[in-house]
């Protein structure tokens, strides 16, 4: 077991967007029946075959660290949360497509995780000082996931897609839309490709279940 390499991925986002459900889905291959508020950090592990089928195949343990809370909470919680952000290999940012504020807060979440958040604690305000340059040289890959697409009425879907297009542009990422049938959680992904030339890093095949 010790021979397998360690990959630590943070899962960040506002409360109630579906982080715990997502992590449970990825690791246990099941839908989470009774989601409840995450206190502190909950970790789950997924075994992943990197470059499956090729001679360079290697099995990794991907640790998904699901950190609970909100961006605007007191500084004591923030500084305690910061212990989880050490030596991170990747960040998954989750936002709720039915809730605009959760998408806006993603900027602050990413800044907090990359240890560059200097804004004071207080009531959540809409962001006005986001700097795109900060993500240009960011070595940590980001994955943006939007949840609850199925709960959006048909006439509003094009607006939501426009909004996420802007979001992926801000994070300097490419956008891939993916639907997973048979699950309540319909996801679509926005990839940031800096630092990785291998598109198959995230294995979509293993997500389809009967």
């Amino acid at each position: 077991m010790a021979s397998l390499d360690r990959v630590k991925v943070l899962v960040l986002g506002d409360s109630g967007v579906g982080k715990s459900s997502l992590v449970h889905l990825l690791c246990q291959n099941q839908v989470l029946g009774n989601p409840s508020w995450t206190v502190g950090c909950s970790v789950d592990v997924r075994v992943h075959d990197y470059k499956e089928g090729t001679p360079e195949e290697k099995t990794y343990y991907t640790e998904l660290w699901d950190v609970g809370g909100s961006v605007g909470c007191v500084s004591s919680v923030k500084s305690t949360r910061a212990v989880f952000y050490n030596s991170v290999n990747g960040i998954i940012l989750v936002h709720d497509l039915t809730n605009k504020k959760s998408s806006q807060n993603l900027y602050r979440w990413s800044l907090e995780a990359l240890n560059r958040d200097s804004s004071p604690t207080g009531v959540i305000v809409s962001n006005g000082d986001y700097d795109r340059e900060q993500f240009a040289e960011n070595p940590v890959p980001l994955l943006l996931i939007g949840t609850k697409f199925d709960q959006i009425p048909d006439n509003k879907r094009s607006d939501v897609l426009t909004r996420t297009a802007f979001l992926s542009e801000d994070f300097n990422a490419e956008e891939i839309n993916l639907t997973i049938p048979h699950f309540d959680l319909l996801l679509f992904f926005t990839f940031q490709m800096t630092g990785f030339t291998d598109r198959k890093r995230f294995n979509f095949k293993s997500l389809h279940y009967d």
Partner: protein, 416 residues
């Protein structure tokens, strides 16, 4: 969280935060719940506004009287008819069996509530016999009893907790190394959880690759298979899973303890600044006032006591909202969020109505008349005495409770 100082900005901030965060956290979708909560809050605040107008002499007295009456009718309508009905409705909707005829069951729940609400009037001497059955005094008196009990409980606890919190922050000396040690323990626990989960994942994967699925025991052959092979495998798994559950609980506790220590350290640092020293002084003043209030009943100056009581009420409302929010986070889920917001609205409305009742006691004589006129001939003295009794009971129980909690605390920190 600057301590107990009356920083109005922080108070308003906290109230708004508690309300905003609460509503957005659980994504209350039903507009009726949002509307009902907002209406209750708005009309409750209007009542306080009217008291201030009364004192300032703003608006003509006839229009003030009209608005008082209007406000009161709306609030009573909401608190006695609308909110309890919707609470019953949403509780019934959550129960699968009753879902079909939820309207009928909601009405039944409401009638039960009305029955007990009415019965509340019996043991208390709150009405004089000349009142009719359907008068407004009947309703207010009962709402008043519930709200006054709530207020007295909270004030009693607050009066004891305030000086205790102040003392405890100066007796506890939190250093950076304490926090670092706790954080290290937390990360070690997380690493242990990760390694155990890796074992579980790897074992499951190996079992799956061998063509066995432990979760399904279909039919006769499935049972035979599971008995003969990898019986130890599944036992191992459930054992490790139990260990993981225990470790996760521990990690949560450690997280909360670390947050607590960080908050304490920040408070101590803040108390060394100028702003902190100013609030410290006010805090001492308030603590002494609170302790004094436990033992004395008469105030020496009506006007000053009115302002002080007003401030105490505002800060205890803040404390009420924060405490209720914390409490409800512990027990709620996505399904019950509607019910919780409505219960919060009910408690808040009753609390505010009784604040008005009690405020009459501290108001200067010339302003008491409007409150008495509007609320009718209630036995105000009863409410004051009832408040004092419950206040004393709450304060004494809080002293006992805090003493017991304090005794446990040193043992916890010894483990560091």
């Amino acid at each position: 969280m600057n301590g107990y100082g009356p920083d109005l900005h922080t108070i308003v901030d906290d109230i708004i935060k508690a309300l905003t965060v609460h509503v957005s956290f659980f994504q209350v979708r039903q507009y009726v719940v949002q509307v009902v909560f907002s209406v209750t809050f708005a009309f409750s605040c209007t009542m306080f506004e009217l008291i201030i107008f009364e004192i300032l002499g703003a608006l003509s007295s006839s229009s003030r009287y009209f608005h008082w009456k209007l406000n009161l009718y709306v609030i009573l309508l909401v608190l006695i008819f609308v909110v309890p009905f919707y609470i019953g409705y949403f509780v019934v909707s959550n129960i699968r069996l009753l879902h079909r005829q939820r309207l009928l069951f909601a009405c039944m729940v409401w009638f039960t509530f009305m029955y007990f609400f009415w019965k509340l009037g019996d043991p208390f001497p709150i009405l004089s016999p000349k009142h009719g059955i359907l008068s407004i005094e009947q309703l207010i008196s009962r709402v008043g009893v519930i709200g006054v009990t709530l207020m007295a409980l909270l004030s009693g606890f607050g009066a004891v907790n305030c000086p205790y919190t102040y003392m405890s922050y100066f007796l506890r000396n939190v250093t950076d190394s304490d926090i670092l040690a706790l954080e290290r323990r937390l990360l070690q626990t997380m690493d242990m959880i990760v390694s155990k989960k890796k074992r579980i994942a790897m074992t499951r994967r190996q079992m799956y690759q061998r063509g066995e699925d432990q979760n399904r025991q279909t039919g006769f052959w499935g049972m035979i298979k599971s008995v003969t092979s990898t019986q130890t495998g599944s036992e191992n798994l459930s054992l490790i899973q139990q260990e993981v559950d225990a470790l996760e609980e521990l990690s949560r506790q450690l997280f909360l303890e670390t947050v607590d220590l960080q908050a304490t350290k920040e408070r101590i640092e803040y108390s060394k600044t100028f702003q902190g020293k100013y609030f410290n002084f006010l805090g001492y003043f308030f603590s002494i006032y609170c302790v004094w209030k436990i033992f004395m009943v008469k105030f020496w100056s009506q006007h000053i006591s009115f302002i002080l009581v007003g401030i105490i009420i505002v800060t205890s409302i803040r404390g009420l909202l924060i405490t209720l929010t914390k409490f409800f986070y512990a027990i709620s889920s996505n399904k019950s969020s509607n019910v919780i917001v409505l219960v919060l609205a009910q408690i808040m409305g009753m609390y505010f109505v009784s604040s008005v009742l009690l405020m009459r006691m501290s108001m200067p004589l010339e302003y008491r008349s409007i409150v008495s006129e509007v609320l009718g001939e209630l036995q105000f003295n009863f409410y004051h005495r009832w408040f004092d009794v419950i206040f004393l009971v709450s304060a004494l129980s809080s002293i006992l409770f805090l003493y017991l909690a304090h005794k446990q605390a040193p043992e916890k920190h010894m483990a560091l």
